[in-house]
Symmetry: C2
Subunit: 212 residues, 2 copies
């Protein structure tokens, strides 16, 4: 019989910890090595216990799951990171992928999915459910589409416009003439079929071209 997969659970919800624990308890080949309820605790427990897999929540008080994942990758890259989250937003997923997590599980996943995710990442494979994979695909497509929809200069002007800067101020900021800003903004309006800056702001927020 092979060594069991040793897991460190990180979640600020005691109920989630209990739920995962009771789900994994009876499973052969898997052992819950420990639990932590915030990022700092997780780091110290990880260096102490050296688990094979860290299952971590994203939303946590203090150091959140994103910062935790970043540090784990830097300090203990041999621990597989399986992110467990109910937040499947664009920004979060992209950030996590950038950090290089090994897998992502929605909290709504059933038992079988969770087990196979754990086994996958412990074995060195990635695990992203089909819906997540599809979401990633859709996100990157949408991002490319809206990126290629605007030239770099246009994106500059969009971002500054959406922070409340006026034509003259944008020109000064970018080191171009006022009239050039006029052209660029007109092009943006034409592309989007809108005709004032407020609508541009609303568009940019919806498409996450700017952050609030």
């Amino acid at each position: 019989m092979p060594e069991p997969i040793r897991i460190l659970l990180v979640d600020d919800h005691p109920l989630m910890l209990m739920g995962i624990r009771s789900m994994l308890e009876a499973k052969l080949g898997i052992e819950v090595a420990g639990t932590a309820s915030d990022g700092f605790q997780a780091l110290s427990k990880a260096s102490e216990l050296r688990p094979d897999v860290m299952m971590l929540d994203v939303v946590m008080p203090g150091m959140d799951g994103i910062e935790l994942a970043r540090r784990m990758r830097a300090e203990m890259p041999d621990v597989a990171l399986l992110v467990l989250s109910s937040d499947t937003s664009i920004a979060t997923l992209e950030t996590l992928l950038g950090i290089g997590i090994d897998g992502f599980l929605p909290k709504t996943s059933d038992e079988a999915t969770m087990l196979s995710a754990i086994r996958s990442v412990a074995a060195g494979y990635e695990f992203f459910g089909t819906d997540i994979a599809r979401l990633i695909e859709r996100i990157s497509l949408a991002k490319k589409a809206s990126d290629s929809m605007f030239t770099p200069r246009e994106l500059d002007v969009i971002r500054l416009s959406c922070r409340g800067l006026q034509y003259k101020e944008i020109a000064g900021e970018l080191g171009i003439k006022y009239l050039t800003v006029v052209t660029i903004k007109n092009n943006i309006f034409r592309k989007l079929g809108i005709n004032n800056t407020v609508e541009l702001v609303l568009y940019a927020i919806k498409k996450q071209l700017i952050s609030l």
Copy 2:
């Protein structure tokens, strides 16, 4: 020995259900009568089982916790509603209070808090943790402050402006002269110390005067 408190658990996360169940299992005087993973299932199980308390999540696919709470209040007002959520946003809390739930628990609550919450609502009392009570207080204060900061007409103009409407359009919508809209908007700008509509939009979003 008195009758046990019978609870119906509603959450779309299998792990949460398992966690709560394993927490309550050994407790004297409490019995998990059943579980449901969405609103519709919850309604049918509730009418079948007639529990004393329904513990329900807010975020769920299909019928969410808010709609579920509304229907439960209308159809089975004798079932105490204890909302369990990680979302403690302004809007959600206000809506839930308006529906008349009996208690609210953050998912981060510890075991002791959950037990006393269950016992409180089962006994006919309300349960809102001190932090939630404080949040409600703060919210209503902030709301009053920002409400009284603007006259009704100003709020009309703010909302329409933030949807991209121009002065003429706003005038038409409100049935007043273009020049009156000018004055109202100027007053808004002066009050906020800003000088264009984009900054107004950003302000309104931050203060939740408008919803995206």
